[in-house]
Subunit: 525 residues, 2 copies
């Protein structure tokens, strides 16, 4: 079933001599298949094909596009347990985790099918003509969103299904009417090919044009070629700050710059407010330990900073947090490189002056991540931005402030974040409104209690935040609004009704919500 | 009244030794005032003050912000004829033109006041909790737009009122809740200071925080400092491709990149379709001559490319166009530099092989722009991208295609455009749908007949387009949607109603349109 080929639309291709191999982090073994690194010609062919497919795909009805997305979900389910096993084998994450992640992936595809039928994503705005307006007549103007062209997608290692080949970026780009070129993630090459086959089967069954989806394997040179190609019109990326920024820079240096939607993680600061903390320090300590250790800390929303004011309650919280994490066993991380990076960055942080490690946590080897927490006082944290960086893995840093005012200073000192959490009673927010106020300027999502891990896929989700959490704080990579990244508005001026696209016609044949002369309505004009 | 100072919020400042002088392009005279070039300290002070003002300004009610915008309009009117005279004196544009432009400027400010009261710009989306959902409860999530922080605005020389100091960028950034720092345009220094005074008077009268608006004078170094400052969070720019791209590059190379919304003009291609052209070639020729010569061709929507298929009707069209333009008298351009650039670029284009100038048009000197048209065949146009560039001024190039198919090729060969026009009967679009289809991929606004000059300020306007027309094709610099550039969404998760911002509260106290669990409504929850 796994061929190791590149998929230039429906053509399976392996022209190059270089190959990649898939790796099993749990036992260090290498999978047998050889994955062909795409040649420059193959990459160009995939993009040219996407560009040709665009002229057809953009004209396909929203209903047909929705059917295509649903068919992808069906074909992914058709892959059965083999997909879960391969994903587990390539990522070190347990098989059961992929039951859930597969469900999320399929639900995302179905959600965008529903978005297509709902029509709100078209953002239709109509201002009708006023021919007798003085001094000049008002023209009829009608605006709607349209697709932008081929989109390149770079998936994440920590979500081999939900944020990769058929993940949120691919689903939203396809929903918007754009062909997609995926560069297969090197950390789950087999999973990627299996999902690629599912997408192409769905495309064939639902009559989509050849080239609506392509997949090429390779490393940085392939990524650079894809991002630099003049016919690629946007990029979706989930991964590290280094990788995201490199792609962002390359895309902006093109003769025609293109948008890069990179979600690059964050430290997800949690502010432990006095009243709430005092009410249950040990319970909160245990809760946060679980959130830190969840998925071996390999979530972009993993709580990496816990900020409180020096107090007995904070001591109890830290004590429970430290003990619970110390008792947690080491678990296999996504790959050797990530495990190595975890211990290196964690070690470098703990070596900073004033940082005290809570308990012991050696590197057990075999790509296993062992949880750990450490503590530092607020003044030291404020003075050393090395302590503000994300450590990808099951580590969290407790910042012990000398006052509520210092918590505000800490909030103000932070870089952009995907999330920020107030662990608080209402009385805490009323007593110290400036913490929440300062935090709201830094984050895409602000929680009142709970833990930041767990990102609901819905209309109201904002998964993105000021740089370096993402490269475009106005957009989200999770939820229905993710489709907005891959469209642009166009205004039709003074067109006859018969020639207008369906969403703009007087009769509102699609029956969608539209803003007509400033008022939301589903009525015809 | 004109002091030549920089305005660091309410402080008038002239610490530097360098000065700029204002210039009258009509008679070449120099205005008497000396405008102080802001020092590095003054620029920093303005931005620091904006950052401090932000913490207050963002908390001010939408109603109060609306009152501020309306007060700016009132104060601009209070400047009376002196403003119109100064703007005319500094730009060479007739006084009467500024009656209209002032009205547009004030209407834009009032429109954004209405936008603030309407509340749709907040884009409120609420998904209520489902506590008993299996396997995990659904959290309450509520999303709304919030301001982003200090915005830098660089105005345009061709609209000293409507796209400058208190123009669309400033109005939309202030409406969104962001302080604004304007770098005064060197081509209308006095007009800029007068409008600055109006804005600051309005701020004082309506109780806005000091620093909500600042204005600094200077050249490229001042611009670079403003764009590079870490506390500036976005840039609005209207002007040339060279200037816009330089600012875009600088902003993207920052440690924390920021969005640049640059509107950089275009050639605004108009496709003369066979049936329509044959019905009235001379009338159309006269119409387009007027559009080309309007405002001495100094509009970003001036029709710079006219594309038709070789025919008697096209010959008649070109004949009328050429004659009408030849009869139009030369008029003063915005400044010496623009006039010089017009003749240089026009000359370089006409010297290209295969380009035939229609009629004579010498440079009369005195910064006066004389209209002209020229002709080239489709194959030559397709082979030479130098012919695709915008010539800022009253010039248009007629492209004579050998077939309807070649028109499609021309449409496909174009760069991104603000507008594209089909001069067509319905029968033309039905006979040759590919022209409109190809054109729609290149433009922000697509017209069915009419001329592209004249940009309606309304909900459905898209004034922006694929690069190089703008740096962000998803946004517009004209119309209510311009406010979207200066906000970002934030999601509130599981917050108690009492602590939520007003737009998100269950009771909908602002009475605005919201999407609740996927349905548009003004109802309370």
């Amino acid at each position: 079933m796994i061929t190791g080929k590149n998929y230039i639309g429906n053509i399976h291709s392996s022209l190059g001599e270089n190959v990649l191999k898939a790796y099993n982090p749990t036992d260090g073994s290498i999978f047998s298949e050889e994955f062909s690194v795409a040649t420059s010609e193959e990459v160009n062919a995939a993009i040219e094909k996407a560009d040709e497919a665009f002229s057809v795909y953009k004209t396909i009805s929203y209903e047909q596009r929705a059917t295509f997305l649903e068919a992808i979900a069906d074909e992914i389910m058709e892959l059965g347990d083999a997909l879960l096993e391969r994903a587990s084998g390539e990522s070190g994450l347990p098989n059961g985790r992929f039951q859930g992640e597969r469900g999320r992936t399929c639900n995302q595809l179905k959600m965008f099918a529903a978005v297509l039928r709902d029509g709100s994503w078209l953002n239709v705005n109509i201002d009708t003509a006023i021919p007798d307006r003085a001094p000049i007549p008002k023209q009829d103007l009608r605006k709607m969103n349209i697709p932008i062209g081929p989109v390149a997608v770079f998936g994440a290692s920590n979500f081999p299904l939900a944020f990769s080949t058929a993940g949120g970026d691919t689903a939203s780009a396809l929903a918007a009417g754009n062909p997609v070129i995926v560069k297969g993630h090197e950390a789950h090459l087999g999973t990627n090919e299996m999902v690629t086959q599912a997408i192409l089967k769905a495309a064939e069954k639902t009559g989509m044009p050849d080239g609506v989806f392509s997949m090429v394997n390779g490393g940085i040179p392939v990524a650079q070629q894809v991002v630099s190609h003049p016919k690629v019109k946007a990029v979706g990326f989930t991964g590290s700050l280094g990788g995201g920024r490199a792609i962002f820079d390359l895309a902006n240096q093109r003769p025609e710059p293109i948008p890069v939607y990179a979600e690059m993680g964050s430290t997800n600061p949690c502010f432990l407010m006095a009243d709430k903390l005092a009410s249950d320090p040990t319970g909160l300590g245990a809760n946060f330990a679980n959130s830190v250790a969840l998925g071996v800390g390999q979530f972009c929303t993993s709580p990496g900073l816990l900020i409180g004011v020096k107090s007995d309650a904070l001591d109890q919280f830290v004590d429970t947090l430290g003990k619970t994490l110390a008792e947690a066993s080491a678990a296999t991380m996504l790959n050797e490189k990530i495990a190595k990076s975890y211990y290196e960055h964690r070690g470098a942080l703990i070596e900073q002056i004033g940082v005290v490690s809570i308990g012991e946590s050696d590197n057990p080897g075999e790509s296993k991540g062992k949880p750990l927490t450490a503590k530092v006082d607020g003044s030291t944290f404020l003075a050393n931005t090395k302590l503000h960086q994300e450590i990808f893995g099951p580590f969290t840093l407790v910042v012990e402030c000398n006052s509520a005012d210092q918590m505000v200073e800490v909030a103000k000192s932070l870089e952009g974040q995907l999330t920020g959490t107030l662990v608080a009673d209402e009385s805490d927010i009323i007593a110290n409104p400036e913490v929440a106020n300062a935090l709201s300027e830094k984050v895409g999502r602000i929680l009142f209690n709970g833990v930041p891990t767990g990102v609901e896929v819905c209309h109201s989700m904002q998964h993105g935040g000021p740089y370096p959490a993402s490269t475009d704080a106005k957009t989200t990579s999770v939820g229905t609004a993710a489709i907005d990244r891959f469209v642009r508005p166009i205004s039709y001026q003074s067109w006859p009704d018969s020639l207008l696209p369906a969403p703009l016609k007087n009769g509102n044949p699609l029956g969608i919500w539209r803003v007509v002369n400033g008022e939301s309505t589903k009525e015809a004009i």
